[in-house]
Symmetry: C2
Subunit: 406 residues, 2 copies
């Protein structure tokens, strides 16, 4: 940096789709990803959905020569799936687990079990402090009726708040990940507006790859074609975002995506396309990205829109809390009734055996099962209500601050 005033940084981001026993050709693809990363020699590699620690260890062993520094973020039952490989020493790390992340009983979706999080690694290159964030937000399973939108918005808000609070001493902020949001979705406008992060794809001087920068495309043999029917070109949900915090400027010189297959082969890295950015970082008198990215009047609209959606989620969570609570109370009443009947029989109040023993016991077991399940769900939805309320309150405070500023 002292000699050359510009630092060039090559960043690679990929959702690896490496779920043990479920993802197709997983080991072959992990090998392929390792090979290409070794050949290409990026500066920073941000990976998601590396859910097997063995896969991470294999990559680490293979990449030790060119990426001597790495970190795997552990969380949830399965793991966060997040890891970072770096050519430069990792000075510090921090993990923030999102407070809401779907429902444990939605086993077919499974997001809850991953403990979705944002991982931070701090890296210093030529005296410039980089705060590098890697994350993966809750998936969108049905765009028309997206029941997870409030949770994803809470995650986007917490991500933005976490970045704002932890990056104050950084010179440059980088965020890579599968955000599971289209570029114009409210969550990504919120994230960009509230942090001032800029989208490498939109800012790139040169671009090479899928049309519109899409990262989930029909051309990839692993994508579910029916899900992409409304989007003939595919969708863009994987991002590299950046900003300069102090007296630096960051420019995206080149942006690339893979286009359905890994370079030089006929199988893809993953069901997602990889995103690769070449960034130029230059020391300046005044930071360009130091302020909020979106003009504040627009930001007020974005936060208001997000807050409305969180409010909708809050209403739904309250209804769930109520109905599970009612179910628990009903099961408890049934049990008490049965206990009274049994006691009555024992005390000889009723003549003989009024119910068949088997159905009586089965009913009691059923009631106990329903009671436990409904209580568990009631507790879960109570937490959900609390966290949605908390986010709504924070957004309200943010809006007030923005409006006072205007």
């Amino acid at each position: 940096m002292e000699g050359d005033p510009t630092l060039r940084l090559r960043v690679f981001n990929l959702n690896c789709w490496a779920i043990r026993y479920l993802s197709k050709q997983r080991q072959e693809r992990i090998r392929l990803i390792g090979d290409v990363l070794r050949q290409e020699g990026f500066d920073l590699v941000l990976l998601q959905e590396v859910w097997s620690e063995q896969d991470y260890s294999n990559l680490k062993a293979k990449l030790g020569g060119c990426y001597p520094f790495s970190y795997y973020f552990r969380s949830g039952v399965i793991g966060s799936g997040l890891c970072v490989f770096s050519r430069f020493p990792i000075l510090d790390t921090l993990l923030y687990q999102y407070s809401l992340n779907g429902y444990p009983y939605m086993l077919q979706h499974g997001d809850w079990f991953c403990g979705k999080s944002v991982g931070l690694v701090v890296i210093k290159i030529s005296g410039i402090v980089f705060n590098v964030y890697v994350t993966h937000l809750h998936a969108e399973y049905c765009r028309e009726k997206d029941g997870y939108l409030p949770h994803r918005l809470v995650q986007a808000w917490e991500l933005a708040q976490f970045i704002r609070h932890t990056s104050k001493a950084a010179d440059v902020v980088l965020l890579g990940g599968d955000l599971n949001m289209h570029p114009e979705d409210v969550g990504i406008r919120l994230l960009r507006g509230w942090t001032g992060l800029r989208d490498a794809f939109a800012e790139a001087t040169r671009f090479e790859g899928c049309e519109d920068g899409c990262t989930l495309i029909p051309n990839n043999c692993f994508t579910v074609k029916s899900e992409l029917l409304p989007f003939p070109l595919g969708i863009r949900i994987d991002y590299i975002l950046y900003k300069a915090v102090s007296s630096f400027t960051v420019k995206c010189e080149e942006m690339k995506t893979t286009t359905g297959t890994a370079p030089g082969t006929d199988i893809p890295f993953s069901d997602h396309e990889a995103v690769m950015a070449t960034l130029h970082i230059r020391r300046e008198g005044q930071a360009a990205g130091a302020n909020l990215g979106t003009a504040e009047p627009t930001l007020v609209d974005v936060v208001t829109e997000a807050r409305t959606e969180v409010g909708v989620g809050l209403g739904a969570a309250r209804r769930q809390r109520y109905s599970t609570g009612r179910m628990a109370v009903l099961a408890l009443l049934l049990l008490l009734l049965q206990a009274a009947a049994a006691l009555g029989t024992l005390a000889g109040l009723a003549a003989g055996q009024p119910f068949p023993k088997l159905s009586f016991s089965l009913l009691a077991f059923l009631a106990i099962g329903v009671l436990l399940l409904a209580t568990g769900l009631h507790l879960f939805h109570t937490i959900e209500v609390k966290m949605l309320q908390g986010t709504e309150e924070q957004m309200r405070m943010a809006l007030r601050a923005l409006q006072e500023h205007l």
Copy 2:
């Protein structure tokens, strides 16, 4: 600050012991706390165990005149119990929920249900940015055989990491809370060493209150005397810690605790004593507390000791994960066996009805119950293992960095 080079800040900290239906004379005490806070006019009030949002609202209504700004941190089933009242505007907030916090099945302890967290509020007074943290760590139920020590150490480590990462742009850092650790416990040495925070009690020029600054004393009519038998003076587990980050110095001019009753009454505020500090903040050329507080060779020992304890917890968590997993497998085998027997009977392989129907069904229900319970516990202990591993790994990295530095 421009006219007077010294800013004087009066901070109040109290674990309010305000558990609905369980804490004695709760409403009376909350009223009393409100009265005294209004009379005394502190600058900052940090409260823990305000578990009823109604109590918070009552305090807020009462204190609106002298503390116009406040924030209540929501988390967990019951809530974090944390709140802040301030004479100065709260500019921003962030909540970090600890990744480990006891066990949901330890109903008699209940810590798990509170979603123990650290809350951050950012306040600016006379141009000085204060990062104010309020927290409450997992309780210690048995000092001789403290099964929660690894969880409390993970919390202390996460607290330290959260403070380090979020306070880089602050001028002054303040932490108040019930840390559930004695002054010489490894967790508090870790927290102080790794953040550079200083103990207001130890640094105070003047002190007035319970001997040794104790905050859980036999003289308080709400404390459990038998628990305090080994400590005739009581124990000190509630703290105000502080440091200057940039070109400021902080000095604790005066420190006070209540001594078993609230001032001018015969009942205590809570089962804990309140802690009150008067801090002097002065702009200097060089920050005094900017570096790590403990000399680095000592810090290496502290981190090593903490890591060993986390390792012990990791071993225990792995054993629990194994035994709950084995239990789930056994329950599944029993169910399969029963299914085979039932199918055999249906197919006419066995002559007549080999088992009494009732006991057969009860056994099946029992097996299903054990299977579900053991699976749930297995998942829980899997998360516990992941988080303990993650903390151990982070401590290992910290040790390496410290040793390289030496």
